[in-house]
Structures are given as structure tokens and as C-alpha cells.
Subunit: 265 residues, 5 copies
């Protein structure tokens, strides 16, 4: 972990990543609710919102669309990822080298680690190489810290999520993206285990504005340093509204009511 507060990834010490690798990870099904969300241009436009500190995409999307947005959007190069056409013990292929990510204009890199998978050893060693190459290029490193696999009966237990956050700190991630552990108290435990590594909450599947904002608020209050969100933004008809609300909660430390008002104004 190295400090990232002076990098484009952070704003006032907080992070809001708009994640858009669902086309690879989940396939077309994630775009059914809002068909225009299948079009990367639509999502790059959304990412211009000042609340978004970076947009996370795979290499091909970045190559094709980022040249038109490099002045307005910070690029988080998601380096690994896998389709769910394949179903085996959790694993993820490295689809993008750090060097080429830099060349395409990346401001930070992202990597998924499935702690607890039978592929944990191999994935952790891939992370080592990527993390050290990112250091050479002064790129912040975000870990999608997702325990998953044969040995794990329950990946939503607080202690499992806290372990994942600790793993992110020990292995050298600057930011750890984790599942919300269900309560502010649990989130506090998780954040504490991560030490100086910033813990951010993963948006997950779509929920109502209020429920979603309450969880984000609870996470921030407990020491969370932000959010990585995909479906809860681009599966909404008016993504800018929820971003207005998130901006209030994450960067202005506003209440949920204030945020909801912002979303409706």
C-alpha cells in the first residue's frame, strides 16, 4: 500500500469507481434492464459525472472508447476477468499487461483475487507481478478482494470479508473492494483489518435508492473510503441522479435524506 490521495483515483481521500466489466464477467444479461447500457459510449458519458473518480473497464473497451474521453474520465484498467461461459473453480485470466494499460492511458489498475479458491496461489503470484509493475509506473492498485471457492462455505461472513481486506493490505493493494458485510459495525471491523489500505464497498446487484444509499452511508460512517458501483448506476434509467446522491454521501458526508433530495432535484 502506498498513499493515493494525490492521485486521480481519489477525491478528498475518497474513491468512487464506476465499474463496467459486466459484459465480460456476466454477459449481455446485465444489459437487459437498460438496453442502452450495452453501449460503452453511454457508460463513458455517465462516467463524466464529477462523483466518479475513475471508470473500470477491460482492455478492449478502453482501446475503442477511451480516446474520446481521456480528458473527462479517469481510467482504471481492470487487468483480469473471465466470462461465466466457463464454470469451474474460481479463476480469472490476466487480459491486459500493466505496460500496455499505461500506454492506453490508465490512471490506476485493478485485479480480482479469489482468496480461498484452489487457484489462490497462482492468482496471488499474478498479483505480485502486476502490483510491482504498477509501482514502476506509479499506478495505484485496486484489489477486488472476493473470497470464493471450494473451501469457502460462506463468503458473506464478516470474518471472511475482514480476512480478504487484510489480505489486500498484506499483499500490497492500495484499495480493497469488498462486499458490504451487512452492518456498519461489521464494516468497521473490516476497515480496521485493512490498516492504511482503503476499503471500499462493492455495489452489488440493484436495490432501491434508499436501501442502497443507506448501506453506502453506513459503510462510509464505519470507515469505508468509498464505493465501486456498476449495476446500481447503469441499470437505472437516470444514472446521473444516483450519482448526485452518492456524491453527497461519499464526498460531502451528507445524510441519506439530503442525498435522496439531491437525486430528485
Amino acid at each position: 500500500m502506498r498513499p493515493i490521495d494525490n492521485t486521480p483515483l481519489a477525491r478528498n481521500g475518497k474513491v468512487l469507481i464506476l465499474a463496467y466489466d459486466h459484459g465480460l464477467e456476466h454477459g449481455p444479461v446485465d444489459f437487459e434492464a437498460v438496453p442502452e447500457s450495452a453501449d460503452p459510449e453511454h457508460v463513458f458519458e455517465v462516467a463524466k459525472h464529477p462523483a466518479v473518480t475513475s471508470l473500470a473497464v477491460q482492455k478492449g473497451i478502453a482501446e475503442a472508447y477511451y480516446p474520446s474521453y481521456e480528458d473527462d474520465v479517469n481510467l482504471l484498467a481492470k487487468l483480469n476477468g473471465t466470462s461465466n461461459l466457463w464454470m469451474g473453480e474460481p479463476d480469472s485470466s490476466v487480459n491486459w499487461s500493466v505496460e500496455y494499460a499505461k500506454e492506453v492511458g490508465a490512471d490506476a489498475v485493478g485485479f480480482t483475487l479469489y482468496g480461498g479458491s484452489n487457484n489462490e496461489i497462482e492468482m496471488t503470484e499474478e498479483f505480485r507481478e502486476i502490483q510491482e509493475q504498477a509501482r514502476e509506473h506509479d499506478l495505484p492498485v485496486v484489489m477486488w478482494a472476493y473470497p470464493r471457492g471450494q473451501g469457502l462455505k460462506n463468503d458473506k461472513k464478516t470474518e471472511t470479508i475482514a480476512y480478504a481486506a487484510r489480505q489486500a493490505l498484506e499483499l500490497g493493494a492500495d484499495v480493497a473492494k469488498v462486499k458490504y458485510p451487512g452492518s456498519s459495525e461489521a464494516m468497521g471491523e473490516v476497515a480496521k483489518m485493512a490498516g492504511k489500505t482503503k476499503v471500499i464497498m462493492s455495489g452489488g446487484s440493484k436495490r432501491s435508492d434508499e436501501q442502497f444509499l443507506q448501506e453506502v452511508k453506513a459503510a462510509i460512517d464505519a470507515g469505508g473510503k468509498g464505493l465501486a458501483v456498476g449495476r446500481n448506476v447503469f441499470q437505472r434509467e437516470h444514472p446521473e441522479r444516483i450519482l448526485d446522491a452518492l456524491e453527497q454521501i461519499i464526498f460531502e458526508e451528507a445524510s441519506v435524506d439530503t442525498a435522496l433530495a439531491a437525486a430528485e432535484s
Copy 2:
């Protein structure tokens, strides 16, 4: 994905690849109908047809025959491929390095990805290296996007083909070669998921002129950007006639009737 309209691979934004790697992939059986098709010279002569924007072959064929055709034919170096002497979970060996393909005169490179195979992770990582090396040499990248393997019950479903096309976009292919999903509407879905990556239809096994041209026409009308065809050309007695017809449909946006007339003239 990077724009390829100014490369030899495209003509008016469309692509017609003559594929000739059947000797490796299927063996001598594919040459039985038209025995002279076993002779690469025969197929290189066919590839001189102005409708063909590139000829896709394996390394050995290119080394032996391309020197006599480099002024008349654009070379698409098919970098991986496997015999069907071997039968296991879908996989494909990398038979040609990008650097040597460039040396032999390649104008573009091609790579098969079996999404859904237990070898998907490894194949995707091989694709990463090849795609990034191709960028260094300014060579367009075509993905044979063919979901196949243990986890796939049906590789002809529209959603599976659309997922493959999306995978091509996300991983950085400039062109995605996919199976025809059976209808113009389905092809539209597939093309939409590929964003700026051009989707082209795979010719498949031999069919009547009319049936084949109708499918190509439907694919083009739905947003397809061309065709990769092998057996439907070289398993015909008069390959130039079907190429005349395809030229009408793909590059002139003519009707099937006009195309059939061109084939018979």
C-alpha cells in the same frame, strides 16, 4: 479494438476473409469434394478475387506459397489451430509468433478463442500476449469467437453467440468471427453487443447458393460487417462465381437476386 477501416483487412468498412486452415483443423476430408482444393496454389489463385480482403492460413502454407502472391493477396496469419486427430476439451496450440508472421508478410492476425472451455483461461492469456504484440506491429486482430466445451450445452443460442461477440470487444479484438445465429434479428443482437468491434459471420459447412447468400444478406442487413468463408467457396466447382455474388451483397449492398445473377453471369 482499434479502427481498421484504413487497413488492407477492410474494403469500404467491410471484411471478407477467405479461410483456408481446414487442412490442419479438419484434415484431408475437407478436400474430398473438390480434390484440387487440397493444393494451396489453387486457393491462393481464388484469393486474388477482388472480393477477398484477406486469406487466412497457417504458418507453413504462408511460408511456402505466399511469396508468389504477396502483390495480389492480403495475408491473415492464423496464429493458433489444432488437428482433430486429438479429441479433448477444446484447446488450440499457438503455431506462429506475431513477430515471425510480420516477417512472412502478414497484414493481420487471427486467433481462435473457445469461450466456455476448461482451457478458456489459458487461451485468453495467450490472446492477451498476441493482441498486444499485434498492436506493436500495427496488425489488426481477428478473433474466431467460438464458445465450446464442457460447460456449454448449446453453442448456437443467440445469447451465447452474443456473449462471444462481447468477449471479443472486451478482450480487444478488432473483428469477431461468429456463427450465424439463425436470423437477422438475432444477428442484430449479436452485433449490438460487440460495440465498435466488427462482427462477421462464419461461413460454416457448404449450403446451396441461395440459402447461403440469403443468410449472408440477413447478417449484413442486421449490422454484420462481412464474412469469413472457406468451404462455401473452395468446395464449389466455380469459386469465383460465389465470390462475385458475395461481392455484390457485402460491398454493394445488393439483393440476393442481383447477387445470384452476378454469380451466373
Copy 3:
């Protein structure tokens, strides 16, 4: 093995490593007894104690916290390690390159070898590379020599621990960290097999002051050259006290009674 008496790792030919990689290896559970021990700063402060000749941590902890302590603490870069989210045949991923460890300020490197594991061959070859790179950078090499795996029925037998110590000598470790074999006589056997490689005792799980110090004393008397300790320090309310006592026993060759008195003063 190369002499290390003139390196920061040793003091009067003895070694006291404060090990703090439990967050990765065991997870948050190891910090429950003394919650502040989850905070690396707390442990770095403890490591300033003059009895500690180095602090062993993983890469991410070193990156985040060592810059504030490099004048006061010697850094032992623990290069491999694995979470116990995953449960399979013993293995450990390499999380840190020697070169980058040097860059972060490491004074020595550490590596776990699970002799007897089905992964022994692979781990030993990883050790080869790391050991030889450490030689290039003049960094002492410590092996966590822990027989463990399918073929081992009992990893606490003297002959197994002695074998592990010999393996450390033969493979080129400068220091071998082994489990305490239960008696001074057994420890003498172990030390003898290690030749010029210094054998140090592993602290293990927390015990009473007296029991723990008696074992350390017996190990030192039998030819042990020190201790690597984690939980027996940071799971105590007053870690500096036990370090005062250990300093007496290890570096001053004092009796257990003298050491206990030092701990209480």
C-alpha cells in the same frame, strides 16, 4: 549458507525475529486477544525494542508502514505466504520479488518451505531463485523450515525437525526457523544437523512467561542461535516486558529467573 554475524540480522551472533505475517497466514483471529495488535503501527513500535534484530512482514505492510521506521527497525521481507481461506496440500505463493524487497529497504529475506508437501519440488525451486537473487543483493536468507503435508504423519518428531534443519543447510539458508522439538537434547540434535546454518526456535502459540522462557533458554543452551516470535509477543498486553526477558536469555545468556525479573522490573 554464508556468515551473517556482520549483518543487521544478528547481534552478537544471535537472532531475534519479530514475526508479523499472521494477518495473512491466519487472518484476523490472531488479533482478537489484543485488538491493537491488528494495527501494524503498534507492532512496528514494539519492534523498536533493542532485543529485536528484525521485523518480518509481508510486502504490503512494509510498503505502508516501514518508511516511518527505517531508522529504528531492521526489515526482514517475508517473501512468500498464503491465507488459510484456502485449504489444500501445503503450498505458499511468492508475494514479493527480491529486487523489490531491496528497493523497499529489506535487510534480509524470509521464505517458508513445506518439506514433505507434494509441492516441495516447486517450492524448493522457488527457493533456489530467491536464494541466489538474495546473494546478488547481499541479503541474508531465513528459511521457515516447516515439514508438512500428505506424506508426514508427525511433524513434531525430532528426526523430522532435524531433517528440516539439514535441508535448510543443504539448500543454502543462513538461518533455519524450526519448531521447538520438545527438549534441550533434541534441540542439540537439530542444531548439529544444521552445521553452520543458525537454527532458531519458532515461538508458536502463546504460553505463560515462564514456560515460554524455559523453552527458549533450553533451545539457546542446546546450540540454538535465537528465536522467531510473534504471538508470544504481540498477544501479550505488555510486549516490551517479554522482550526484556528474551534479551536477557538470548543475548546475555542469563537464567530464566533473571529474565523473569527483567520482565517484571
Copy 4:
């Protein structure tokens, strides 16, 4: 495939390889009939015969004996090979690098590919590297094209041998060594599938002079470009006689009777 007629491997466009890697592939048993054949010097002397365009040996044999013969014998470096002490799915280890083969004085390189083996993918990728390195050093490439393995019920069918010959062409071999498919007609099919790649017949186990020469004659008449022979030469008491006969058939296009007469003169 690149033209080899101007290389030492060919004489008048034909090839006669004396193969002598039986000590590795089969072991001492192959030398029982003619005990002096176990001595490489004996076989190097035989290889001086003008009919022999190259001698194929493993690295150790070349290092030890070739320095005395480099003026009189062309060296074909057989790069892979495996003992039959081991019995598993067909595979072959790479025992010699192209670079070092060049240093030892190789005029060409040879590689066995077991198409149809579960190791086909890996072997084909090893072939890629070797073939491309051979190009850098201007060394002709000979493939021992031997379908074998779990998926193959019958490796002597014409279509299987023809597939192997095609594989050699597609992957970039200059010469394909195949099993004799049993008739001149079948050999014609095989040769046709190989295009510009020269197909040569493998000598196989020892047979009578007449039977052996008739098969070689039939192979040459059908378009075969020569022979790779071991046991049918060195398991004979007077190897020079059969070489006299082979010279007639292969390079002089003589009849079997003329050749038999030459052998007896």
C-alpha cells in the same frame, strides 16, 4: 516450408536420412542383431556413403563423435526424443536447443510430433519455437510426423498418415517423415496432401532387401522425395550394400532389379 534443394540435406531434390537415435528411443535391444552398431563410430563410418545426405543423432552422440566427421557427414540434429523406459501418453522431451545444435555443426534439425496425443498441443508449441529459431539460423526442418496416442485407433490408415503429412505442411516443416502407407496409390495421396513439403518414407523395422527396396521404389514413384532409414541399414551385416541399392532407387530412379544388382556387386 521453405525450399531446401540448395541445402546439404538434399541431393537432386531428394533426401536420404540415416537415423541413429535408437539408443535413446528403443535402448540397447536395437543393437543386438549387429553388436558393432552400438558403437557410434561404426555408424558414422557408414554415413560417409554418398547416398546418405544426412545423419540424424541426438546431442550427446553429436558432441562426442561428430568432430571427427564434420568434413564427411552432414549432421541432422534430432532435437527431441524419449526413452521407452517411460510408458505414458506419447510425448517427447526437447533435448537440444537449436542454438547449440548450430554450434555443434548441425546442417538441419529434426523434431517428432505425435499428432493425436494428449500432448499434441504442447508438442506443437515446442515445434513452433524450434521451427522459428531454425529459420533464424537457416536450418532446414524435418518433422517425424507420427500420429499416436489415446484418440487414435489405427495409425496406419492412409487418411491418418495423409493428415500427418498435411499437418507438417501447415505447421511449417520442410520435410515430413511418415510411415509407409502400404501402397503406391496411398503414398500418392499422402504426398499430395503435403503440398510443397517433401514427404519421405520411414524405414521401419528390418525387412528383406527385396521387400524393402520395392516399398522404397513404390514410395518414390508415387511422389515421395526420399527415405529416413535406420535399422534397415545398421542392422545389416553390410550396410554399404543396401545404401548402394538405395542410391540407385532414390537418386538414379533405377528399378528394383538394377538396385539389387548394385547391392550385390
Copy 5:
């Protein structure tokens, strides 16, 4: 194979290797009979005997003890080796790079090959790299040629040992260390198959002076070029006596009686 008669490894064309890697391969149990044999210094002192043309040890032993003996002992760097804590299909990890062996002062390198093991392919490829790197550094190469593994019912048959010796020649070893095949006649067969590669007999487990010397004598008479011996030297109370005797038999071609007399003088 390259000539080694002018290297430190040979004396009058013969070789006597004192092997001392038992601490890694067998563990402390091999030192029980003569406890001081656990101390490498003891064995280095023994190795000063003029009959010993080199001492074979692993990297760590060489690093620690060889600096005091480099004027008096020739170093054979045993590059691979494995503990028997682990029990699986025979394999051996590479523990020492050729380059670093050279730096430590090696005069030759040694490598174990388990022909017939399911790991034969991988081990043979490791041998390729090491053998070629040794050529660059002008270091003789000794192969411990030990058929062993799933496919081998009997590794003491003459034909198996002869096959192993041939494998050593074909793969490029300068010296092949093999098990004694039980008779002078059998040893003659083995030596013949190795061609110019020197075959030396492996000492094996401890036997009486007379029995051991008779076997060595028979091996030398049959064309053996020396001995690699460990336990039959260091498990004796007076190792210099047996070395006096071996010197007579190996370098002076004396009778067993003369040798026994030398041992007792």
C-alpha cells in the same frame, strides 16, 4: 559428451567422486553410524585424500564450507536433489543454477535423471538446459543415471542399467554414474553402451572392505572408469584407509589383495 581427461574431474582418465548429499536425500539417518560424518568439515577433510578427484555436495554445503577447501578439493556441484520427507513419483528439484555454481567455484556439475519416471520428460528438459549452460562455462557434466518409477519393475536388470548409460551418452553427459549391475560381464555391457561417456559405479550402501573392493575391481576391469562413493567411505571409522585401497584399484590397477594391504598399512 566432451573429453574430460584434462579437467580436474579426472586423474589418469579415471574418476573418483566422493558424494556427500545424503543429508538432503536421506536425512540425518545416514549419519547415525558415524556421528561426526554429519559435520561437513569432517567430510571435506576426508576429501583432501589424493584418491578423491572431486567432492559432490549441494549448494548450501558448498557455500558454507568450500571457501576453506578450494585449494585442496575439487568441487562437483550437485545441482538437483530432493528430501525423502516427500514420497511420490520420482522427481528432483533443481536447487542450484550453473552460473552460481561456477561463482562458488565448481569444477564440474552433477544431475540426477530418473529415467522411467513419469517425470522423465520434465527432468530431461531440465538436464538439457543445465548441460548446455555447463558447456558455456566449460564444466564437465556427470549424470546420476538412475532408472526409477512407476513403469519400472526392476531397476537392477543389466539391460535397464545399460539403457540408462546409453541415455547418458545420447543426452550429453560426460560421466554416467550407474548402479553396479552385479558382474564384470554385465558391467562390460553397460560400459559398451555408453560409448565415449565414462561409466562409473555407484558405491551404494555399506559393505565389507573386501566385498566392496572386489566389486570396484570387477567394474574397472570391465571398462568402468571409476567410482562415486559416499556411505562406503564416510560410514567407516577410518575413511582414509578405504580411500588408500580404492586409489590402488582405480588409479594403479592393483589387485584387491594389494589394495587391502594398502588399506591396512
